[in-house]
Symmetry: C2
Subunit: 307 residues, 2 copies
């Protein structure tokens, strides 16, 4: 059975996402302590893939993932999924709300349910744990009365029960996860794909505008951009770009080749179906047909068949 790594511990949102990303095949899921280790296991061949968080609508991007994607040997994303950030509040069976005097979770989770806690468990003292799952384990062990945890946690800690489900102060908060593996032929284009790259350019006026113009000229819609300082070379910036389209699309391939000419380094981070399956609208001038017709026309010109 293939082994698939994920950012652990077990019983967290990342395990839940990794299960969704690997629902189609039998796999053994293996928790790793941090993203770097999970991707090292992919790179070494110890696992066939890894599930990692990439951005959260409230907390922002996950720099540990971005840095781990561009360090060491290449890896590529082959699938994405998006999970709503809603929590379960778990207690030992029979615990009533008025009996909860301590509640624990990861600080990020606590930050996203503070309003709910004030309204529903106003007298509970807040404690911090290293993960939402560690908080659930501590409740099971009698250390705290309640844990704010991912919906999957109750499966991991079946001796607990839900005091409340669907808890979240911010509605529509989400986290996006990627399934990452060693380079291999990308998944087939679906017409609703996303491509991720990391491009390093020199810190000069206008280089980013030119780089983005290469996408614009080919009718490619950018869905995310973030600059990160490169650690290794002064005076250079690394941009993480997500945009619509698949590397197999002519317009995307053409743009990537242009980026390759302009940048000191371009790392292809994968083409994969978008979680929302929303098809990309493409102008006629950037369609496959238009690219094929223009290539034929150029061939004909060069061969002296037409003028």
């Amino acid at each position: 059975m293939p082994r698939i790594a994920y950012l652990g511990p077990s019983g967290t949102f990342t395990e839940q996402a990794t299960r969704a990303l690997t629902a189609d095949f039998d796999a053994e899921l293996v928790p790793h302590d941090d993203v770097r280790q999970a991707l090292a296991a992919v790179r070494s061949g110890e696992v066939v893939a890894a599930g990692v968080p990439v951005e959260n609508s409230v907390e922002g991007s996950v720099p540990a993932t971005m840095d781990a994607l561009v360090s060491d040997e290449p890896v590529v994303a082959v699938a994405e999924t998006v999970l709503p950030v809603v929590f379960d509040v778990l207690v030992r069976p029979g615990t009533r709300p008025e009996e909860v005097s301590t509640v624990a979770s990861h600080p990020h989770a606590i930050a996203q349910v503070r309003g709910w806690l004030e309204a529903n468990l106003p007298r509970a003292e807040v404690h911090f744990a290293g993960s939402t799952a560690a908080a659930a384990a501590a409740v099971r062990d009698g250390e705290y009365d309640a844990a704010v945890a991912a919906p999957i946690a109750v499966e991991r800690y079946p001796s607990l029960e839900r005091l409340s489900a669907g808890v979240a102060d911010v509605r529509d908060a989400f986290t996006r996860f990627l399934l990452v593996r060693r380079p291999s032929p990308p998944p087939e284009p679906t017409g609703a794909d996303r491509t991720s790259v990391a491009a390093v350019i020199s810190d000069e006026v206008g280089t980013l505008a030119l780089l983005l113009s290469e996408l614009t000229l080919r009718d490619i819609n950018l869905s995310r951009i973030e600059s990160r300082p490169t650690k290794d070379r002064l005076g250079e910036y690394r941009f993480f770009l997500d945009f619509d389209g698949h590397v197999a699309d002519s317009r995307v391939g053409d743009a990537l080749a242009a980026l390759r000419r302009r940048c000191s380094e371009v790392r292809f981070l994968g083409s994969y179906p978008k979680a929302d399956r929303a098809p990309s609208a493409i102008r006629p001038s950037a369609s496959e047909q238009a690219f094929r017709a223009s290539a034929r026309w150029l061939d004909d010109i060069r061969a002296g068949r037409i003028a």
Copy 2:
């Protein structure tokens, strides 16, 4: 004495940064529980300014600050400072390394000293606290043996002593902080300034490339860019941009006016001296002299004085 808010609790890096940002004047520093509250105190006039973290080289940007800057009434940054991320390990006096069986800190701080802990306190059990300062307080109270805390913490908790100073796995990690106040005439240009804006544009192909071209055409160097989904309107993106130059500079003013024409919303987030004081190099075509000369020339043309 003017009151200045900061992201608390006291004894953390943000207090240390806010002290550095306000070293020139007598002020009472007031900790607030979160960035939103600190900026609400600025907006209401309860405090004259607030010190807030904006980005960390390891952990990435601070979305809570970015979101709070663009919500509600306008506020502007008037100064920035950069602190190296190096920690003190604090213990009760006389504690020897081999006596440390528990160590506590905020999960982000623990993540940045894991290597040091493994090498120097390999048998210490790790516990998590809501802040580096809360960990120091817990050590003072006898709850844990050691805390990983900001260098300022020992001043707040004078009953503790340093087991080790300058602790950090990643060298050169830094956090950038801003001093934010209600809109007022910006600080004088110094020749080494940074300007921050948040621009909302429609989610159409090429709008960002055009927006950045407006900066490029005026020889303005971008130092940071990050997209955040706007919560209020679908199909729109908000870009946080930091670039060289001061709003009083002709090239920057000209570019901002162009952004205002192109974007559905532009929020000016301040012009302030760069922490590194590195002067911006400007091509002759974007100099003040060139802008003044071209404006005079156009006036003369329009008045029929020359042709």
